[in-house]
Amino acid sequence: MTEASRQTLLASLPTSFDTGPEWLRALRGRAADRLRDQGLPTKRTEAWRFTPVRSVVDAEFSRDDKGIASLVSALPDGVTVRNLNEVLESEPELLEGRLDLGGAPSHFAALNTALFDDGLWIDVSAGTVAAAPIELSQVVPTRSEPGVTYPRVLVTLGESAELTLIETYASNQAGELSNSVVEVDLGRNAKMSHVRVHQNAGLQVGRVDVRQAADSGYRSTVVTLGGALLRFDVRCLLQGKGAECQLDGVYLIDGVDHADHHTLVEHQAPHCRSAQTYRGIVSGKGTAVFDGVVIVHRDAQKTEAHQENRNLLLSDTATVHTKPHLEIDADDVICSHGATVGSLDEDQLFYLRARGIPEDLALAMLTYAFLESIVDRVNHEPTRERMREALLARIPHGDEIRGVT
């Protein structure tokens, strides 16, 4: 019998919330009550079966709330970025009903809701097409004792607005925890491309929650480049007719790193389309988990939903758990899902070597090509190029195969 989870992470939950507008105090209070009542996940929690959540839940952190994501790019016209605290003080009504994750926060998102101290609100006004991407970065400084941060970002796009958002979460410090929440609200016909890079030596739990009005489009590209323990959830609620989302991801896991990606797409309205493509390479003693769910509600006729997860295992000691699944309550739908776990194609490897290409370079070419096809779909060339460079930097001999695709 193992010792019961100590839930150290909950120790910093206050018993009452005294600042901010009434609705926020109530929101935080409900989140805290629920956490005290139910606790954080344990290894018996279904959604955390394959991920050692205890190393997060029972860890000791020196409290540090100031690790909020910061803006690192210039602001294009028509885009405003404000600190959440400033808005909560001056115009709290603007945020009411927008920080509650659609009423269904997961454990860690509830913890963020209870404890986030400031954050950013990015707003793109109706009809504005942001000419350049917005870049946010949470880079945790090296410090003597690992801390925990609760980054919080709200993104709102008005009708027919368009934005590319690039987020980078990076930390070189082992033991550091980042528990982030990004909420996205897309107005009618709004389009957003969201690139998110995880380059974290520490612990990371992240959640992106997207609500989509009619005819809106959301494209997510997640690039996970290792991490001691990463858990990332993206949830898209297709609430308006004709909305579309594309959730893509690549992960490159080695050493003893662990990455757990969950996706959830809910088709709540008819004529929506969703597609998910996650690809990963796992080597060393690394572990990757993919859990993807598509739920098609009864009224969501003419839904089209696709889901695919492909994995390459490069060592006998690497592990992949993959579970794509569909729950369909409508009858007029086109849905597909599939998962593969395999090793590199021996025919391809031999072909390259038979032409004189050394084995290590041939391996680099094939692994890079496998992942690059996902990055290649990002609709912003400088970002694509940066993602390519990031992959090349992580792949052994990557710097010798630049330009292979």
Binding site: D345, E346, D347, Q348, F350, Y351, L352, R353, A354, R355, G356, I357, P358, E359, L361, A362, M365, L366, Y368, A369, F370, E372, S373, I401, G403, V404, T405
Partner: protein, 250 residues
């Protein structure tokens, strides 16, 4: 250039080649003909160094060195080229990048400077014209979405770029119509020269009308049962492998 002595090769524990003896001089073109399952492709793969083709007996001397000790990439760098019967598609790896990497790896092995982008493009344009391979195809992913004929032309294009000493062409004619066959054969003939040897593997005599061999070997059940000049190919075409085999029975 190449001396194969009593070569025995097993695949998955099953003997396929059962004592091959063969010697090829520089400047010669040898043809190996044989029915399906006789071991033709096994010989090609064994020479190129593919995993899973286990040499249980015999040796292969190439330019005075023990070929069987070399990794596939070293064999290529030493001038061996395998034209694949079924060239594999490699989505995401550009044909032209791959070929540049291959050529420069081989040049490096020879102690030569890498070709820069401009010289490489000039060379590849010239060589692609040899087999009428369009620029557009050369830039795509390796063999990805290529027709059967395009794949085979791509093989000969690569051979022309890499300028091997010994080319092993495994059923380069399979799946080609007569026009494509002529294009491929012309490409091969353009590369014949006093310093280069070729081993042309084929099921049908047809290819040998266009690539005329100096020596023809008949491979049946893992052994070379007859060796002759180009007329042997014609005789095979007329009589079939069965007759040739039966004629050998004691």
């Amino acid at each position: 250039m190449l001396k194969i002595e009593d070569l025995h090769v097993e695949v998955d524990g099953k003997p396929i080649l059962k004592g091959i003896n063969l010697e090829i001089e520089a400047g010669q073109v040898h043809a190996i003909m044989g029915p399906n399952g006789s071991g033709k492709s096994t010989l090609a793969y064994a020479l190129a160094g593919r995993d899973g083709y286990e040499v249980t007996k015999g040796r292969v001397i190439y330019k005075g060195e023990d070929l069987l000790e070399m990794a596939p990439e070293l064999r290529a760098a030493e001038g061996i080229f395998l034209g694949f019967q079924y060239p594999v598609a490699i989505p995401g790896v550009s044909n032209i990048y791959f070929l540049k990497a291959a050529l420069n790896a081989i040049r490096k092995h020879r102690g030569e400077e890498p070709l820069d982008a401009i010289d490489f493009m000039k060379l590849s344009k010239k060589k692609a014209a040899l087999v009428q391979l369009s620029d557009e195809l050369a830039k795509r992913s390796v063999n990805d979405g290529f027709s059967g004929g395009e794949k085979k032309r791509n093989e000969i294009f690569q051979m022309a770029m890499l300028e091997p000493s010994l080319a092993v062409l495994d059923e380069t004619d399979s799946g080609l119509d007569i026009d494509a066959l002529k294009v491929v054969a012309e490409g091969v003939n353009a590369l014949r020269g006093p310093d280069r040897a070729m081993l042309v593997i084929t099921h049908y005599q047809r290819l040998l009308d266009y690539i005329v061999p100096d020596v023809v070997h008949v491979l049946i059940d893992g052994q070379i049962v007859r060796t002759g000049n180009k007329d042997l190919a014609k005789q095979l075409e007329k009589e079939g492998y069965t007759e040739v085999r039966d004629a050998l029975q004691p």
